[in-house]
């Protein structure tokens, strides 16, 4: 019962706020609305027993990426409050396609007989994740870290003011 309440509440917040992100004419509003979405998704993670992922979600997404986005908005024209045309010319077609895709996805996802297991999540989440990262998934882990380094360097090179 409590879980259902929590789920529907989170879903309402997530979808509502994500609509604001997609539709708002004000860039700062859109960016700030991203936070409730991300927090709701973190809430999903908690409901799904993924506390560690939830914590990382808040730390990285809400705490860092959103701030970065806000920062860029404030540094570029979004901060000046100039009301430019926010949407391009393919809104109606895009909306149609998105609705159609959503309907299709819902149809496919709800009708597929997913295999269900009775297994349980490991007791201590971060420990299990850490073990997996350093044993079975060490290659993705290392590749990701390399990618992060490359992105860091790339971002600095791209964004640096030419001397």
């Amino acid at each position: 019962m409590a879980e259902a309440v929590a789920f529907y509440g989170l879903t309402a917040v997530a979808l509502g706020a994500s609509l604001v992100v997609a539709l708002s004419r004000n860039m700062v509003h859109a960016a700030v609305s991203l936070i409730p979405v991300l927090l709701s998704v973190a809430g999903y993670y908690v409901l799904l027993g993924a506390e560690f992922v939830a914590a990382i979600q808040i730390l990285i997404y809400a705490g860092a990426i959103t701030v970065l986005i806000l920062f860029v908005i404030l540094l570029t024209e979004g901060a000046t409050g100039v009301r430019v045309r926010p949407r391009n010319e393919q809104v109606s077609l895009g909306a149609l396609v998105c609705l159609f895709l959503a309907a299709l996805l819902v149809a496919v996802l709800t009708r597929t007989p997913w295999p269900q297991t009775q297994g349980a999540l490991p007791e201590y989440n971060p420990g299990a994740v850490g073990q997996s990262f350093l044993t079975a998934y060490v290659l993705p882990f290392e590749v990701t870290s390399l990618l992060i380094v490359a992105c860091l360097v790339g971002a600095i090179v791209v964004a640096r003011r030419e001397a």
């Binding site: 027993g49 998105c98 490991p122």
Partner: protein, 102 residues
């Protein structure tokens, strides 16, 4: 009882909204935000499948964490590009950036 289907539907809707943002927004930053929404939708599926389909080996959590890391990278590089574009062209509207067009 909340089951796998609920999360998947929620993720699908979130994905559609994110896609809509990507398709229709003119601001590069907004498009990036739409991409973040889509990534989150995918992450919901990963974590949900972990819980309901194969919980023992937290595989979905791994995938979700990698996706979060990639999202951070994508945001960093994307926003750096936006800054750079703004500096040179004084706009972040993607349809106004058309130097390469014939």
């Amino acid at each position: 009882m909340i089951g796998l289907g609920h999360y998947l539907v929620s993720g699908a809707l979130l994905f559609a909204v994110g896609l809509f943002a990507v398709l229709t927004r003119r601001s590069a930053v907004a498009i990036l935000m739409g991409i973040e929404l889509m990534l989150n939708a995918a992450n919901i599926n990963f974590v949900a499948f972990t819980k309901f389909v194969s919980p023992e080996l937290v595989r979905g959590h791994i995938a979700a964490l990698v996706v979060i890391a990639l999202a951070a990278c994508e945001a960093a590089v994307g926003l750096a590009l936006v800054i750079s574009a703004y500096r040179h062209l004084e706009t972040v509207q993607v349809d106004e950036i058309n130097l390469m067009k014939w």
